[in-house]
Amino acid sequence: MSTKPAPGFDRGSTPALSFLFAGFGGQGILFAGKIVAYAGLLEDRELSWLPSYGPEMRGGTASCSVTLADTPIGSPLVTEPDSLIAMNRPSLEKFEATVKPGGRLFYDSSLIDIAPTRTDIATYAVPATGLATEQDLKGLANVIMLGKLWHETRFCAADTLDAALEKAIPPRKAQLLEPNKRALALGKGL
């Protein structure tokens, strides 16, 4: 039905993939986007990563547009995402309508007490924040969500994802690598 790439798809014919990560400041929205961006870098693809930096950020919400493609990217602003990752209710309410028909919506069902209404997209209720708390991975709901996103979209090769995570964590924060890896594995298994 949808034209989404299946696992094991041929990289040469991959269409551009666009992601919109959205949530509260402090949920690691930009960081989750950065891992996708590094995955694109490691696979030598065209990519763009654009954070919100405006008044909405100062008001506590953050979003991040990421595009992966094999041809130069025009607008880096993702206005019709293939995948929306909504980490709080305002983000779900604001961006659900923008998801491309046939696209995907991932939302943190621990924090969002409403359900999406679209029927022309695939929706994934991921209790990421609850799982993070349970598994002693506080603050890593974003990475759990990213694992689930990868599991469903395979936006890069499996080993690329691991390498991207390592690249996104600066050396001075190396102690965070292990819990991040656990969170990623947890999300991939959902």
Binding site: W49, G74, S75
Partner: protein
């Protein structure tokens, strides 16, 4: 030989960081600035890196102080950089006029935000008129580069230092918040050695008690002298106009509708042009890479080259400023329409496509 076979390593950088790193690699060892969103990463990057390469990073007490420090360091022969965003650039404009008057090179970065006044902090292109028409008082121009990708944020900084030194003209990188904040993979250029930098025999390096002092000055009270100096400067501007104007054409060869856009806005237009082509509309993009000198010859080429262009559309993140230059060049020969978003809004490819489709429908009558 193996050098050419080796794949250059790409790094992921924000546009603002790329500007700063490119300046360091171009031999810039003096940065004077003052923080303002959305360009602060330029200064932050310089604060971190400049001391490690033996240069001077200084956060001045104001934009006006910073631009006058630029004046001093440039007069001493250094490659100097300052950066700011729209309101801060206005504050620097007096100093930029003085740099121009004293024939001093410098690179000035403007990561534009919405205005006028303090305005907002979202991406804008509303300083086009300021950059190309009135970067300060008096008879002068600055060379203006308009990057459209993070790679160009890097590459054009090197070019800006080169032409600034070559012509002794202050040079501006006119970017915007979107380009400053976004990350893309880029290939960084090799760093220049001190030996690679151009000689500056005019610089104020101390007479050593031997030669006559050099003077960096914009004050000239004798009208005849000032006119002579200005005429000499404008003769250099003719060289700049002849040799330095640059534009990129995208799908223009058989385009009936040519969209003119620069900077971040041109990226949006590129997406819209591709979508228009898919819908069977012969659209193209003409992207000025230099805003001054204005690449009017590229438009002339489309008009005179037996092209099939029937009308132009200018798209800007402003109320319509560059469209003046497009109209001056086209000079009534074809219709020139305008579409813009202001205040910090980046147009979407969909709304630009809508404009293209509308004009494609009505285009037949107008020309």
């Amino acid at each position: 030989m193996t050098e050419t076979l080796r794949r250059p390593e790409k790094v992921l950088m924000k546009g603002n960081e790329a500007l700063a790193e490119a300046a360091l690699r171009a031999g810039c060892r003096c940065f004077f600035g003052y923080p303002i969103t959305p360009q602060t990463e330029v200064a932050a990057y310089m604060a971190k890196r400049m001391p490690k390469v033996g240069g001077v990073y200084l956060q001045a007490e104001s934009e006006i102080a910073a631009i006058n420090m630029i004046y001093g360091a440039s007069a001493a022969g250094a490659r100097v950089l300052t950066s700011s965003s729209s309101p801060g650039i206005s504050l620097k404009s007096e100093g930029i006029s003085y740099l121009a008057g004293a024939d001093l090179p410098a690179v000035i970065i403007n990561v534009q935000r919405g205005g006028p006044g303090l305005g907002g902090i979202q991406p804008s292109q509303a300083d086009y008129w300021q950059a190309t028409r009135a970067m300060g008082h008096g008879d002068f121009q600055v060379i203006v580069f308009a990057p459209s990708t993070v790679q160009e944020m890097c590459d054009l900084v090197r070019d800006a230092f080169e032409v600034s030194d070559k012509y002794r003209v202050p040079t501006m990188i006119l970017a915007d918040g979107l380009l400053g904040q976004m990350m893309e993979p880029i290939v960084l250029p090799e760093a220049l050695d001190e030996d690679d930098l151009p000689e500056k025999p005019w610089a104020l390096t101390g007479t050593g008690g031997v030669r006559a002092p050099h003077v960096a000055n914009s004050l000239c009270l004798v009208a005849e002298d000032l006119e002579r100096i200005n005429r000499a400067r404008f003769a250099r501007y003719e060289d700049i106009k002849r040799d330095e104007a640059r534009a990129e054409q995208y799908r223009c060869d058989d385009a009936e509708l040519v969209v003119v856009a620069f900077g971040a806005c041109a990226r949006v237009v590129k997406s819209a042009v591709d979508a228009a082509r898919e819908a069977g509309i012969a659209a193209g993009l003409l992207r000025p890479v230099t805003l001054w000198p204005w690449p009017g010859a590229a438009i002339e080429g489309l008009l005179d080259g037996g092209g099939v262009v029937r009308r132009f559309l200018t798209v800007e993140m402003s109320m319509g400023q560059m469209v003046d230059d497009v109209r001056l060049t086209v000079n009534g020969r074809l219709p020139v329409d305008f579409f813009g978003r202001s205040g910090g809004i980046v147009p979407t490819p969909a709304e630009v496509l809508e404009q293209i489709e509308e004009l494609a429908v009505t285009g037949g009558d107008a020309a």
